[in-house]
């Protein structure tokens, strides 16, 4: 082996060619994330101008800033109301929902070691749908008023993943057990919802279908505060495990040998991401594409280090979602297409492009 040992280049204070390549790769990761954040800001500024009321970019930003600096800008009160009460909450809600779904898709794929995993793999969306059915048909709900449906969607979504996590802690939290249990629970709750739908009258059916089309119309500031509060607690907790997720992609045995208790981390991630997804789903319904594909996009561009991958999946999820929402609202205005449909229409071509163009051919090995 003697011939393979070379003198450390850093002793002479010079970085080797490979070290420089690695430095620029790390720089590129930061640069890419900043670029996507900048893109979201620009995109938001543009989307806010679109709609039935003609608002220029300058007017939109003026209206936004007028709250921060009262009296500093002359703004038309109608413009201000539209920007602050209708368009801006929708965009902020879209950014938060896209971020949450992207992040949860990323951590779920990592802990379940499956590129097809998404935030809904544990059956969360069918749990939420069943919660809605219970509220609509039986009139049983934990909350009243505007949270009649949302509260139930949230609770049943959590109940659904709690059941799977409980099952896994008895049977052993291997990724195969979790995925199989998720699929089974998904079928069960879908069947139960269909049963309720079968017996529902017209009014109850209308209530049931008013939720779950996967759109961002429901966002108001009070709902955004709730989501923001949940994210503020959960996102740092997910980021804390970034290293362990990197290691777990090599398999549970390797993870254990490097000091990571794979099963415990898996349950930890599932508990927290379920909370995040349930919060998003109860307000938006099922937006399926983002959580599956945003992490793959991030992985193709940034590589497999979850310290970068988790936030990048979130940021990419947010940008795809608000871009799709902008198109969905305006492409055949005044008809608004549900955002869930448009995310796939916009996202799939971009995803296909990355798949064909990407030089990292090992992604689906």
């Amino acid at each position: 082996m003697g011939k393979t040992v070379r003198r450390s280049t850093t002793r002479s204070g010079k970085r080797s060619k490979m070290q420089e390549a690695r430095d620029s790769f790390v720089f590129a990761r930061y640069f890419f994330m900043l670029a996507i954040v900048a893109l979201i800001v620009l995109l938001a500024g543009f989307i806010i101008t679109l709609g039935p009321l003609d608002i220029s970019v300058a007017d939109a930003y003026r209206a936004l800033l007028s709250r921060a600096f009262p009296g500093a800008f002359q703004v038309d009160p109608l413009t201000e109301r539209v920007v602050w009460n209708i368009r801006f909450p929708r965009i902020v809600g879209g950014i938060l929902a896209g971020f949450g779904l992207g992040v949860c898709g990323c951590v779920m794929q990592a802990v379940l070691k499956n590129p097809l995993a998404s935030p809904f793999t544990l059956g969360i969306s069918s749990g939420a749908q069943f919660g809605i059915a219970v509220a609509a048909v039986l009139g049983i709900s934990v909350f009243g008023g505007p949270y009649l449906l949302i509260g139930n969607a949230f609770l049943f979504a959590l109940l659904c993943s709690a059941f799977i996590i409980g099952l896994a802690s008895v049977k052993g939290a291997s990724s195969e057990t979790l995925i199989l249990a998720g699929i089974a629970v998904n079928y069960f709750f879908t069947a139960m919802s269909q049963l309720f739908r079968y017996f529902a009258d017209d009014e109850q059916l209308r209530l049931m279908t008013s939720w779950g089309m996967g759109d961002l119309a429901a966002f108001s500031w009070s709902k955004i505060y709730i989501i923001f509060g949940v994210f503020a607690v959960c996102m740092p907790l997910l980021m804390l495990k970034a290293w362990d997720l990197n290691i777990m992609a090599s398999g549970d045995e390797t993870a254990k040998s490097i000091g990571v208790n794979a099963e415990r981390v898996r349950v930890y991630i599932l508990v927290i991401s379920s909370l995040v997804v349930a919060t998003v789903v109860c307000f938006t319904g099922t937006i399926a594409f983002i959580g599956l594909v945003a992490p793959h996009m991030a992985r193709m561009i940034l590589g497999g280090d979850h310290r970068f991958l988790i936030p990048a999946s979130g940021i990419l999820g947010a940008s795809v979602l608000i871009a799709a929402d902008g198109v969905a609202m305006n492409i055949i205005a005044p008809t608004v297409i549900p955002t869930g449909i448009m995310t796939s229409v916009i996202g799939v071509p971009f995803f296909m492009y990355l798949m064909l163009k990407g030089r990292r051919k090992e992604f689906w090995t």
Binding site: V5, R22, I247, F363
Partner: protein, 293 residues
Amino acid sequence: MMIQLQAKGIVFGYNSSPILKDVSFEIGPSRLVTIVGPNGSGKSTLIKCIDRILTPERGTVLIDRKDVTKMDRMEIAKNLSYVPQSSARTFPSNVFDTVLMGRRPHIGWLSSSDDEERVWEVLRLLGIEELAMSGFTELSGGQQQKVLIARALVQDTKVMLLDEPTSNLDIWHQLDVMNIVSDLVKKRRMTVLMALHDLNLASKYSHGIIMMKHGRIMAAGDPASVLTSENIEAIYNVEVAVRSQSEEPFIVPLRQIKPSGPRPHPGGRLFTSGKKRSRLPRSLAEIKEIRLS
């Protein structure tokens, strides 16, 4: 005599079918010891039990007289490193990031420049610095094995466990990997315990050999005393000629004693060891006290 790694009475089984039956041994510092034995003899299981990837039903493992069973995972990872047979990753990662994972027991959320420098140092040591930015799954088998050894090396442990590190490699890479491991023992004074199929590689590189069958240690000692034609015939059912090649035994397989492959199931438990053990030469009676120091 100092003992670096000690296993005492390890018992392990899957669903009540026993795999390891009361395995004990001691290994001194700066030794390279290989475990040999037929498929299914419990070599890999023993290594996993020592690293507590599998939890033995009974028995203890001591490193520097510290009990591994009382350590948490991070603590074990600081004392014992493990090189798996192969590592299939679900998602891609480049070589540098893969090796950096081995620093996990020593770092918090952010890796320091010292950690990264340690990775570069090990990549240079193994001659794979040029591969640092390549994807792990794009590498050849030999290169992947070196990356896995590099990851174990940056854990900075005194004891390294390897599970059949040469099993998928051509003859050049087999020697390459064995030379690397042998150098770690000589120059870094590491203690290495590895499972190996190739008896000639085991003979060439090991200070001590543990020969296993049916979850028990059947013979142990230096290569010349373990790799005899009687032992190999009894353990593997293969007739061999053992020659001496610069004082190391050199094994030439001649023929199978019994046809291999599935035999008619006698009914009841597959491993009713009584009959088979009686076929062993007397010198191979199961060994209780094994010191390889």
